[in-house]
């Protein structure tokens, strides 16, 4: 395994993405919409309309949350601030899952079949690069745009939440420990799982369109699982412990899929030769 060559494949794939405005403009819009526009509008509206009846009703509904979640909410704050706090810390958490999974699978689904369609798979197949180096280079190149968007979006989201909700909630409170765990420990293995499956698919299908269709089928349940898990991890009684455990399991599954996925790429598949194992 030549790591330098793997990094070369990764860098070149990223450079191609960088040259593709038709890719990164929608990606930036998606990140901006989920991390800034939707939460920003919701939090600003709740913060500005004050303690009207609807907000008070929602505030009372917060009693349905687990006790640990209720304890984290500033008790002395107004109903509007409580709702904003819960929204920012708990209900918007899944955006951190949806955005990277959507972006990374979009990139990953076309990465191998795309080489074949453009004819550049022929160049790679005749090159000294090993198929594992190519596979890993492409996997990392697919992971980075989604994860990077999430990190940047998460930073901006944190800033926005603290600026809008923070003053009324007694100072800057975001990100919480559970959010750090979600972003740094839980999310990466879910991305790894999704990309291992998507790249395996990309190596086998005949066209980018087919890869994207099938990738949607693979990632949709994953998004649901990650959504549920991330919300649960943030709400749960032992949120931090649960996040650790969930992340550990996901890492295990992710690496198992990664190693088996590496075997799915062959030079014959880069060449698009039919019926080749």
């Amino acid at each position: 395994m030549n790591y330098r060559r793997m990094m070369t494949v990764m860098r070149t794939d990223l450079k191609q993405l960088q040259q593709s405005k038709d890719f990164w403009i929608p990606m930036a819009l998606l990140g901006g919409l989920f991390f800034l526009v939707i939460p920003g509008v919701l939090l600003s509206v709740i913060n500005s309309i004050g303690n009207i009846g609807t907000i008070q009703q929602v505030s009372q509904a917060l009693q349905l949350l687990p006790q640990t979640a209720q304890d984290a909410v500033p008790q002395a704050a107004s109903d509007g601030t409580k709702v904003s706090f819960v929204l920012a810390v708990y209900l918007l958490a899944p955006i951190a899952v949806i955005v990277p999974l959507t972006i990374s699978t979009a990139v990953g689904s076309s990465s191998i079949v795309g080489e074949r369609e453009r004819g550049t798979g022929e160049f790679l197949a005749h090159s000294p690069a090993g198929v594992r180096e190519i596979y890993l280079g492409k996997l990392i190149a697919s992971l980075i745009p989604g994860y990077l968007t999430t990190i940047v979006g998460f930073g901006l989201y944190s800033l926005m939440v603290n600026l809008i909700v923070g003053p009324a909630a007694g100072g800057w409170f975001f990100p919480t420990a559970s959010w750090w765990l979600l972003i740094l420990w839980v999310l990466p293995p879910f991305l790894l799982i999704a990309l291992s499956l998507v790249l395996r698919l990309s190596a086998r299908v005949k066209s980018t369109a087919a890869a994207q269709q099938a990738a949607g089928l693979i990632t949709f349940p994953l998004i649901l699982i990650a959504y549920g898990q991330s919300t649960g991890a943030l709400f749960g009684a032992a949120a931090v412990t649960l996040s650790f455990a969930m992340g550990a399991v996901a890492w295990g599954i992710g690496f198992a899929l990664l190693f088996s996925g590496m075997r799915s790429l062959t030079r014959a598949r880069l060449l698009g030769v039919a019926n080749e194992a």
């Binding site: 070149t12 191609q16 004819g119 022929e122 160049f123 005749h126 690069a129 090993g130 030769v273």
Partner: protein, 342 residues
């Protein structure tokens, strides 16, 4: 110029034993199936060092699959494969790092610049991230250096081919594999590319070139291997194959009184005389009979208006080989000339 392969000496690759160090590529009795479809069947390709071997055949003859097997990009189902004496399926990285490949489709990254395409190859082939000089030298050689800053998507077909050729020699490979390198090029660009291929062989590199264009192989090939349906029909130099398939030489003659040419049938070395249209076609056993025939006719008072020795082209040869393999016209010992209607 490289020396042509001499079939009379032990230069003939077909006479070289398994593992002969003079053979850069050795495919013996190779078979390959894609599912139930046979792509190669009992294919033998022996390419000696510093020579141009041309794989000639129609589309679907197995030329591209053969190239893929040579570099180890595909694994054969059966047969013996060695490239530089190594098994490409075991020592693939070593083999591929010594090969330069230009595929029928240029296989370039359209969204990257020409420079970035070459830089990518330089890094994959181990030249490192600062391979500025090799990149400039390779691009300069193929006249593409001025366009390196442009995105490849905006290149013409000729520019893409030149860039692909530059990429193939970037790492100074010993073996060059060209799969229809002039595909889509205009005649002038094709000619320039073929000149460059000849130049690279003259520098000592081994070249294997696939083509279905007979005119490309004409004069370029040190060895011709005709492929059909995944198998090799015949190997040899153009001269040796011509002598085998066209043992007689054709001379086209005309005179003020063409009937006077009939007397040639009695001349030494003349195989046949026939009138075809406005000319008389005379088959002789050796080309050096022609001056004697001309002298004899002049002495007999025949006023010649045309003396035109005809050399069978590679196209004539190719069709003669294919006809023979199909069991047509293999009995006369003399190849047929399709354009003469024989």
């Amino acid at each position: 110029m490289t020396q042509p392969i001499d079939a009379a000496t032990n230069d003939d690759p077909m006479m070289m034993a398994t593992g002969d160090p003079r053979l850069v590529v050795e495919l013996r009795n190779v078979g390959k199936h894609f599912g139930p479809v046979p792509a190669l069947s009992n294919l033998t390709i022996l390419a000696p060092r510093s020579r141009i071997t041309v794989l000639l055949g129609p589309n679907g003859a197995g030329k591209t699959t053969a190239i893929r097997i040579i570099t180890g990009a595909l694994v054969p189902d059966e047969g013996h494969v060695r490239t530089f004496g190594l098994d490409p399926n075991v020592d693939g990285e070593q083999v591929r790092s010594r090969c330069g490949v230009v595929s029928a489709k240029p296989a370039l990254y359209d969204r990257l610049s020409g420079w970035d395409n070459l830089q990518y190859a330089a890094e994959l082939y181990g030249l490192g991230r600062n391979a500025i000089e090799p990149i400039r030298a390779a691009a300069g050689r193929f006249g593409i250096i001025e366009a390196l800053d442009q995105q490849v998507g905006g290149y013409s077909t000729g520019m893409k081919t030149r860039l692909a050729l530059s990429r193939s020699v970037l790492h100074d490979p010993e073996l060059l594999l060209f799969d229809e390198p002039t595909s889509g090029l205009d005649p002038e660009s094709s000619h320039a590319v073929l000149d460059l291929i000849r130049e690279m062989a003259d520098e000592g590199r081994t070249v294997i070139m696939c083509t279905h264009l007979l005119i490309e192989a004409e004069g370029l090939a040190d060895q011709i291997i005709v492929l059909e349906s995944g198998t090799d029909l015949i190997h040899g130099t153009q001269l040796a194959l011509t002598e085998r398939y066209f043992p007689g030489f054709l001379v086209r003659l005309d005179a003020e009184d063409p009937t006077q040419l009939d007397q040639l049938i009695a001349a030494p070395g003349v195989i046949s005389v026939s009138r075809v249209g406005d000319v008389t076609e005379v088959f002789v056993d050796e080309l050096n009979r022609v001056p004697d025939l001309v002298t004899q006719l002049a002495a007999a008072g025949v006023r010649l208006t045309r003396v035109d020795p005809y050399h069978p082209s590679l196209e004539d040869l190719y069709f003669a080989i294919r006809r023979e393999r199909r069991g047509v016209d293999s009995t006369t010992g003399i190849g047929t000339f399709p354009e003469l209607g024989r």
